[in-house]
Symmetry: C2
Subunit: 97 residues, 2 copies
């Protein structure tokens, strides 16, 4: 089974930018500590400080699933529920070159 890369672009609700940013940062280190995590990087848009993006790579589908079911991810999803205007998630494979 091959590695899975996630690109997730998140748009904060108006006035919730900092609150969302704080919650997003909390989930980075526990996610990176997961056994199946290859990379996990948070970004903030240069053009709109309410837009954030995660770029993550997981060893395989099982590792991604374990992440989604983890306590820290579930806590994070609850914490950001009222803070997100729009969320776009892409499940990707890297094209070898």
């Amino acid at each position: 089974m091959s590695a899975i890369t996630i690109m997730a672009v998140l748009q904060a609700k108006e006035g919730k930018e900092q609150e969302l940013f704080d919650e997003l940062q909390k989930v980075i280190s526990p996610s990176r500590a997961e056994e199946g995590c290859i990379e996990y990087t948070l970004h903030q848009s240069m053009d709109d400080n309410g837009t954030f993006a995660f770029y993550e790579t997981w060893k395989d589908e099982a590792a991604l699933q374990a992440h989604i079911e983890s306590t820290h991810y579930q806590t994070y999803r609850l914490a950001v529920e009222g803070l997100i205007e729009k969320r776009e998630v892409h499940r990707l494979h890297k094209v070898a070159q």
Copy 2:
């Protein structure tokens, strides 16, 4: 000046998936060879084979500008003009952690 990360998600026009994929692959090695290129990775969606994504990091704004003005990038943009249904580009900074 800090590094700039680009996330670009591209959707092929119906029936143009393979043609777009071929053109996208051509631009990888000359882009990686550019002096200011830190990373440059192409992805294909697991859920829709007409959706592709670039994840790129450039040393600074000048490096990104040089890339955009490069012959290989200009050639690529011309070659894919009639092949792309939708393009979404985010200019990002990595959040240090």
